[in-house]
Symmetry: C2
Subunit: 447 residues, 2 copies
């Protein structure tokens, strides 16, 4: 059906008669008019059926039959629609169609998702259909734009895609948060992060990234947690920690710009404040140390509009603190040099301060919390081995990882981005569950 | 270290003094000369150390010390090397460096992979280091080029990336080939293919593709099987089966061209016949029906150079037959309309011939076998339900999939490509295990 035109392309066909393949998302009418809300996955737009036109074209009887057929067509029926494209200044989309003919492809009876309100559980039970709705389509277009922007950015910066394995025979971290499977008689675990493998990649191929699903068997039931989500990890030799932050900042800006460029209409549907997104692209991100953040939090803890708990130097802080910090600066904010005690074993200490590590979390503004975490990696064999032992981990699970420090160790940094958190932030959504086609949460594994 | 230059970029610095960060892949020397084979992940090249230059620059004693240091540096030591870039017509790479200074970053003792021969098991046990070798790096660059070409192709053709879930509560197919995990008290299974979910995506978003890891708990120990591999699946409404083949052919050609463009040096290292690859891009692929293939196989079964077994119409054929067919035509060959009996339940029958289905396998030439499988999908609710029952599958596992035929069913097709098979074919490799960074096979889950 190469003669079909996408709804997103009708702007190139004003005044022409075109044919589209579409679904009937909604419909209204009065008297001799029917207004069809059509969707084809690329966009939604309106097609107008005028009964006298049908009668003029098909004759009194056949025209009447045809008009009645469209008048009684149910929501989500599929059809080919032929008509003339017109500009329509009244609609946001800007174009509509005067229908000259149509052909029903597939009927639809009692479509479960109606324009009335449904609870989230009901919608999630019908996720395969809910994806057809305007807002869900827009979120998927934002996600898609972020994915394409990721590949474009890393290609431009000389990175090789290096796919870390999902299944591994080592339980590299706390097994209570790992999904386990029987691998031909031995236990295997689903990856929580590809980072360690990516470091091997960086020593072989230079700049590398992976981008795939990871799994956390956490029993968290928050609006920021999924058990299966997509993670982008990048790893690179020969960059300093500061240069690594520059790279991360450039990447996040490229992601936001990528959505502005590729999914502008989706941001409109989502009613996202695009000026704010543009500001994040244009303004340098804030960089502040963990200890400075603690000072700042302490200084403001009695302000009228704050509602976070008191924190001391050395405490981990939570999402209310993160929200306050990023709102305070109004732009994405790198918090650097956290205490070693609550960060991963492989991070390199700050020179002269072994209690702090060369790491950074990037906090998104508007309360969206952490979207990126990264660090400079420990390069010294003995220091790394000691950290593994101090953390109660098994040396034999890390033998190959330790090898990377044995044979030509080099300075290297890396970071990871949670795709669904980034989607949620850029789309301006409340809950992470709408940021992935089929979300997996503690009580949700179907459809 | 933004002042470092990649080896792949030295061609832009002829006559200049540059600094690179690199590993010592190999070394040779005689008298006053040391020839360093350096690698930095982007490429390999030679750097030459001339003792009198060191003595001239650093003085008699210090120059001697420095020359001896480099002379005794072990394989895979890491170092910063400074020197002048020169053209070198004798080497394939075309450039080399006259070293003026160096600084060792990390030492390396008893690197396990030496220039001598190692068995595959040994190399796979050291996969994290084996990836540093020239050939493995080249294969990863081919893989990378195929990934980027995939995104470029689907972007150009209006596809949305739609990530199908890995974990699912339904065992949609034969559970003996599925990895299972305990999902908070219920069984869940690792995806073998995202296709069914992708069909839901196509009804919501139009043209969609996914590209991620899939899992098969097959006990196959062949050179064409992995238990974890990357699959690209595409799904699209409103294209006929013939148009679908056109799209697949364009995609495969774009992939091969993408490697020729982006990984030309890697193909040289792999000694791949690039003229053959160019021929596959330039020549139309062959399209032939299953029944015509059976006729052809029967007609040639007594030829001198054939060694496949006799096949009848209705028989599935094996890899010797596939090899013969694709060699016979000398280009990638679509075999269409296989018997319904050995293809998946969701394929649409050939009009007027319910024993054959509208599907195609693409056989790569040179004995590389099937790389793509696709079909037009059954769109009729009753026919699909009957096929599910006939195949002994549970209707309740497919309720949401059946919904896609209940609410505005439309004609749609799709296909899947196994990334590692494509890598193996384009790289000209023997075995699929080298086509992925960390292969998972029946007896291989580490490192």
């Amino acid at each position: 059906m190469k003669d079909l035109v996408n709804i997103s392309d009708v702007k190139h066909h004003v005044g022409e008669t075109v044919k589209i393949g579409a679904w009937l998302a909604d419909k209204s009418g009065k008297g001799k008019l029917q207004f069809l809300q059509l969707r084809d996955g690329t966009a939604f737009f309106q097609a107008v059926v005028f009964k006298p036109s049908f009668i003029e074209k098909f004759g009194e009887e056949a025209g009447e039959v045809k008009f009645n057929e469209i008048k009684h067509l149910a929501q989500e029926s599929s059809l080919y629609v032929t008509g003339i494209i017109k500009e329509d200044a009244r609609s946001k989309f800007g174009y509509e169609m005067d229908v000259t003919d149509f052909e029903v492809i597939g009927h639809s009876e009692d479509y479960p998702i109606t324009p009335k309100d449904h609870g989230t559980d009901f919608l999630m039970d019908h996720r395969h259909l809910w994806l057809r709705s305007k807002k869900q389509m827009a979120v998927m277009q934002v996600r898609n734009a972020l994915i394409y922007a990721t590949y474009a950015f890393f290609d431009k910066h000389g990175f090789i895609k290096f796919d870390s394995p999902i299944l591994s025979g080592n339980a590299a971290e706390n097994t209570t948060e790992l999904f386990e499977t029987d691998y031909f008689g031995s236990p295997a675990f689903l990856s929580q992060s590809g980072q360690l493998y990516l470091e091997a990649g960086a020593m072989a191929l230079g700049r590398v990234f992976d981008f795939g699903p990871v799994f956390r068997a956490e029993k968290s039931k928050t609006r920021r947690h999924l058990t299966e989500f997509w993670m982008m990890d990048a790893e690179y030799p020969f960059l300093s920690h500061e240069e690594s932050l520059d790279l991360q900042e450039a990447y996040i800006k490229a992601l936001i710009q990528g959505v502005l460029d590729k999914a502008d209409g989706a941001l409109d549907i989502l009613e996202r404040d695009k000026d704010l997104l543009k500001k994040y692209v244009e303004t340098p991100f804030k960089r502040i140390s963990y200890d400075e953040v603690i000072d700042l939090l302490q200084a403001h803890e009695n302000d009228e509009d704050t509602d976070y708990e008191h924190v001391e130097h050395g405490d981990d802080f939570g999402s209310p603190h993160e929200t306050w910090v990023s709102n305070y600066f109004g732009v994405p904010t790198f918090v650097v040099n956290y205490p070693a005690s609550f960060k991963a074993f492989y991070m390199k200490p700050v020179p002269g301060n072994p209690e702090r590590v060369l790491c950074a979390d990037l906090l998104a503004p508007e309360g969206y919390g952490e979207i990126v975490g990264g660090s400079e990696r420990e390069t010294d064999y003995a220091a790394l081995l000691q950290k593994i032992k101090d953390n109660g981990l098994q040396e034999e699970d890390y033998d190959w990882y330790l090898d990377l420090r044995k044979y030509g160790s080099v300075p290297h940094c890396g970071f990871g981005l949670g795709l669904e958190r980034m989607v949620t932030f850029v789309a301006g959504n409340e809950h992470i569950r709408e940021a992935i086609p089929f979300p997996r949460m503690i009580s949700r594994i179907k459809p």
